[in-house]
């Protein structure tokens, strides 16, 4: 029997599952059964909290597993080998794209940086990788997918790549090699053995990533969703859209700056962003905030200080920060 799954070019079943309409309706149904009116302020907040928590945790676990499994086919060592062979602008594009798929935690920034430079990969190309990789991370992608849908999540990925390519290219043009700590050029790396993983090891890798990421950010998500739920019910719409709406020219700038001292645990702030956007805060403002929390993290800058001098850290921060602000304004204009 032929089942017509297509409706306006989209898979209806998948759309139903991923829109979480079932969860939305289910939560409403259960809350109504126990006498909570979801049309009310209080009921609306409770609904938002339960629905968002379950939705994001399901999405996060599932998608991080799938993404990690795919990522296990890549490794920093393999990425290095690929980039060593490329030159010119296309090396920046490749570095940025590989930054998406290569499993990499910012705690390994320093060995990665040294390894790339040691392998003769240009500084600018290394930065293309280092800018895109944290911005386009699985948790950020999944939370955006869950809260704003595939279109916004897609835009986010593309923006992350464009930022990495252009940011790295500017660093290349500025010829900043002298701001790398001298000892980096002296290090000789041992021969890298690239091991092929078995299927079981890949599954193990994906499972431990789910445990790691969900274990790390669930508390912040709950706090974020809790605050989001309050905003959902109580924050006055006129005030928010007046101060943080797309019309306020400083909203994006402010969002980017306050994001710097926050670490990727600020992922928990996305549900807050969702609630704010529903109340009239610009989408670009929320995006800029998210990019800045992941790309411009203070802990990563402190780590990078071990291999690059303050001036290069400053240049990197300014280029990435300005790029994020531009992306934020663009989004506020087009969405």
């Amino acid at each position: 029997m032929l089942i017509n799954l297509y409706d306006e070019g989209e898979l209806v079943v998948l759309k139903y599952i991923f829109s979480f309409a079932w969860l939305d309706q289910g939560t409403t149904w259960i809350l109504n059964r126990i006498g909570v009116d979801t049309g009310e302020r209080f009921g609306g907040s409770i609904h938002f909290f339960i629905y968002d928590t379950i939705k994001i945790l399901i999405l996060l676990s599932m998608m991080v597993f799938i993404i990690s499994y795919m990522r296990s086919y890549f490794s920093v060592e393999r990425t290095k080998k690929i980039l060593e062979k490329l030159g010119g602008f296309k090396a920046h594009v490749a570095a940025s794209l590989l930054g998406i798929v290569t499993p990499f935690c910012s705690c390994s920034s320093v060995p990665l940086f040294i390894g790339f430079i040691e392998g003769g990969i240009p500084l600018g190309v290394t930065f293309s990788f280092l800018i895109t990789s944290p911005i386009v991370n699985e948790a950020a992608f999944v939370i955006l997918l869950g809260t704003f849908g595939p279109k916004i999540a897609g835009y986010y990925v593309v923006s992350g790549v464009v930022l990495g390519v252009i940011g790295g290219y500017i660093i290349h043009l500025l010829k900043l090699e002298k701001y790398v700590e001298e000892y980096v050029y002296q290090i000789k790396m041992g021969d890298t053995v690239i091991k092929t993983l078995s299927r079981r090891e890949r599954i193990e890798f994906a499972k431990s990533n789910v445990k790691d990421i969900v274990g790390r950010i669930w508390k912040y998500l709950l706090i974020g969703i809790g605050i989001g739920a309050l905003i959902h019910g109580w924050a006055p719409e006129e005030v928010l859209s007046k101060y943080a709406g797309p019309e306020n020219p400083f909203a994006v700038l402010f969002a980017t700056i306050i994001a710097i001292p926050l670490y990727s645990n600020a992922m928990g702030t996305i549900p807050i962003a969702e609630a704010l956007i529903n109340k009239g805060v610009g989408m670009g403002t929320a995006m800029a905030f998210m990019m800045a929390t992941t790309a411009l993290s203070l802990p990563e800058m402190i780590l990078l200080r071990k291999v690059i001098k303050p001036k290069l850290i400053t240049v990197f921060t300014i280029i990435t920060g300005v790029g994020i602000i531009i992306v934020g304004y663009l989004f506020n204009m087009i969405i």
Partner: protein, 76 residues
């Protein structure tokens, strides 16, 4: 046996170290376990993503926390 856990001191590195200790007691073996946190020594093994596990000079695990059973297999 010489076992080295490479890593710049992140939480995953400690997890891997703990798993190594557990694996040793499970396998009933003794070994010299050392945490290598110095970046230059880590790089000399050709490793760019931490944590990594090195047994008798051979890099066996890179960029992830190996499970206890997995390490027990390496010890045999």
């Amino acid at each position: 046996m010489e076992i080295k856990v490479l890593g710049t001191g992140c939480k995953k590195c400690d997890d891997l170290y703990d798993n190594v200790i557990k694996a040793l007691s499970q396998a009933g073996k003794e070994a010299n376990v050392e945490k290598v946190e110095d970046i230059i020594s880590i790089m000399s093994f050709g490793v760019m993503s931490s944590p990594a596990l090195v047994i008798d000079g051979e890099v066996l695990i890179v960029g992830r926390v190996a499970q206890v059973e997995e390490i027990v297999n390496f010890l045999k």
